[in-house]
Amino acid sequence: MNAQEIVRSIEAEYLKPASDLPTIYVGDTVRVGVRIQEGGKERVQPYEGTVIAMRNGGISETITVRRTFQGVGVERVFLLNSPRVAEIKIVRRGKVRRAKLYYLRDRVGKATRIKERFDRAK
């Protein structure tokens, strides 16, 4: 085994099985279940928003999810393989023409809508 293969084999132990993660595309609306520790108790808090960016890279794969909460834009970056991300549900598939939807940051209200597409399974 060469160096790269050894590093990959260590990462493989921490990767989630492929069945746990749905296929996510930029533009999708997702609901992410985040594990939260509160006073010794653990619960799953949902966070819903639009995927505006994805970063591939094996164990360090992330999605950036944006939502507007009480008029304030909130973006959270989720490490997909992290145990803190309990589950990810696709709420809606979006049709976009960019890999990064950073232009949504400059828009408010109706202008942030993304057209839905129906050719991808949820």
């Binding site: 160096a3 590093v7 360090s60 992290s82």
Partner: protein, 214 residues
């Protein structure tokens, strides 16, 4: 005064701990090293063991090197390194030493050769600030003054200037061993270690610096 090990940096990745936190780790191939020489008070006046590490073709070793390795009956080894010990203990010539000399959670010092950056300027080498890029300024990446004038009439030694940077031995102290894979002789060390992947590393249990807490 404790036994370390030689190894190779394989690369970096991240893993998750029990609490779900991600930890950046460096994967290090630690050993297996062969004990090639044992020095004792009787033979050398001090106690130490010499470890050998790394494959090499026999033809690339000199005859004296081959002869030295033949004494411990080890295959051709590229790197040799001596570790001072308080006492040799039960180490024997030709014995194989692996990553299992470390344990999870232990602190280690890791020494290696840093990435060479060639002839580097003031900003990169010494973190000088640059001059303004506009408003008629022609002082972009220059050092500024290097000292006073006629008195002393020279630049003081040690004045930080441009020059060769990197490719020097660097030791990073008190890194945590996150995981030991004794089977494959791998160490997962929290944080970064000097050099690129493939660089030779010397890993020793952390040296305690400073006075012990009373």
């Amino acid at each position: 005064m404790s036994l370390g090990i030689l190894g190779t940096k394989l690369g970096m990745t991240q893993i998750f701990d029990d609490a779900g936190r991600s930890i950046a780790v460096t994967v290090v191939q630690a050993g297996p090293c062969k004990v090639t020489q044992i020095k004792t008070n009787e033979t050398d006046g001090y106690c130490a063991v010499q470890l050998g590490y790394g494959d090499v073709k026999e033809k690339n070793l000199s005859r004296p090197e081959r002869g030295h390795l033949a004494k411990s009956g080890s295959e051709p080894l590229r790197h040799l390194k001596e570790y001072r010990l308080a006492e040799v203990g039960d180490l024997t010539l030709g014995q194989s030493i692996g990553a299992s000399i470390f344990e999870d959670g232990q602190f280690v010092d890791v020494a290696g050769t840093s990435i060479g950056r060639g002839f580097a300027g003031y900003q990169k080498r010494h973190n000088f600030r640059r001059g303004p890029m506009g408003h008629g300024s022609k002082n972009h990446r220059l050092p500024g003054s290097t000292g006073a004038g006629t008195t002393p009439g020279r630049v003081y030694p040690g004045k930080r200037m441009a020059g060769h940077m990197g490719d020097a031995q660097v030791t990073v102290r008190k890194l945590t061993v996150v995981r030991v894979d004794a089977e494959r002789n791998l160490l997962l060390i929290k944080g970064a270690v000097p050099g690129k992947a493939g660089t030779l590393l010397n890993i020793v249990p952390a040296k305690r610096v400073g006075r012990a807490k009373a």
